[in-house]
Symmetry: D2
Subunit: 145 residues, 4 copies
């Protein structure tokens, strides 16, 4: 029923993430989304370092974010990550960033990814190159529907 692996990613906002407007700079949400994605993979049982140890990298092919309500220094944020699509060649995640205690997200975002061989930078299909990850991701992605 849920592709978010049961647990949100949580941390405080750092001072250096704020800007002249007194709010979190919009570029930093993209970074927080990456942190949440790495945490999601760790909870899945396949951390990103394990993927890199297989000689595979997962670069970002696209990213988007909608900023709904500002975040400030020291706010505690929870990120709810979902694997929204996966076919062994490409993957997409969605993110909802909540300020602690709030029901409506402060921001939402998405990211798209491909899988490349680290050395050649040629696309790989995880079904062949990393089947245990493939199976687990297919399973998680099914649940998120």
């Amino acid at each position: 029923m849920s592709g978010n692996c049961g647990r949100d990613y949580t941390r405080r906002i750092y001072y250096y993430e704020t800007d002249n407007m007194g709010i979190v700079h919009h570029s930093n949400y993209i970074r927080i989304m990456e942190e949440a994605r790495m945490d999601f993979m760790r909870n899945l049982g396949y951390e990103y370092t394990a993927m890199e140890a297989q000689g595979i990298i997962m670069p970002v092919t696209g990213v988007s974010a909608q900023y709904l309500r500002p975040l400030h220094f020291d706010d505690i944020v929870h990120v709810r990550t979902k694997l929204t699509s996966f076919n062994g060649v490409r993957a997409a995640f969605s993110y909802e960033i909540f300020r602690q205690g709030e029901d409506r997200p402060s921001a939402v975002g998405e990211s798209g990814h491909c899988f490349l061989d680290t050395a050649t930078r040629v696309p790989v299909n995880l079904k062949k190159r990393y089947p245990e990850f493939y199976e687990r991701a297919m399973e998680i992605q099914e649940k998120s529907k």
Copy 2:
């Protein structure tokens, strides 16, 4: 004929913008887009500091980027910025990031913005609050069609 104010924004990629994959981290393109947007406004004759001096801020309401080909340390990039929509209340920009000497962009992106009173954080209409900017932006946006 062109909404890009006649001149691309150009700079080198910094070492600290690269990551473990040996390429520019995807979050940094969002920052380069901001630099290009500020440069675009400067060329327009209305730099962002002038807007803030009017008690108006222009926060980002949404952002997206598609990463087509990686960038590396010391690459020289040109950013072609356009004001794609503007009505005094909201604005949108598009960006094409080219590696020097290449015809196809390394990345493309978009950003959406609103205008707020700095003190109250209430939306303002530039037609009333900053008419000279409004006129210039309407003119530029027309040209970009």
Copy 3:
């Protein structure tokens, strides 16, 4: 006996903190030191947001770091922070950054600070402006000797 308030600051290294050398970019240690300092103040019972709510900011007047052994993506780091000097007008902190499971630090650093009135940016003496913080900081600094 110890000025580190009993608890290290701990977190993982993020992917976006690495660079082209495959290690954490040196500028990011300065940011991790800031996170640890904010955490130290929180443990002290006087978080930085409380200080800012008093109309006081604590800018950095100087910083230094020595990089002893590199850190990598996903490393868990512990930061041991001490308040090494404090007189109500100026403060200094020291930091030791350890990779989890290691006895020798990966990096050490220091930061110096003053206290300013937020509105006027004029130096303030916390003994007068924020006596409860002053007392607590004097006490902690004594213990750290």
Copy 4:
């Protein structure tokens, strides 16, 4: 007479470099120093990419900065870089960051570096590994005395 290779490194302050205090975050000066160092090497005729092409990296072993007067968004800064010591095994640079039109620096800093083989991460002596760089750096360092 001067080790700064005749030309300052100049650029504007970006919006994302500011923080909640309305000034440039202290960690960003460390990054600007890196930009200036890379520019210094380029002017020397030996850009950092050329060094990496030789299989040599120049990591930072230590860094320090003193913040004298704050910088703000859109300020134009000039950085005066000097190679203060060099022996083929280690190098040190100093930096003075000036706000345009000002005689006294806004910040000063220093960085220390070693030279490592990219693959083995073992220290190398440039006198043997990269003699043309060694000669040029010795010459420049002499002039800076």
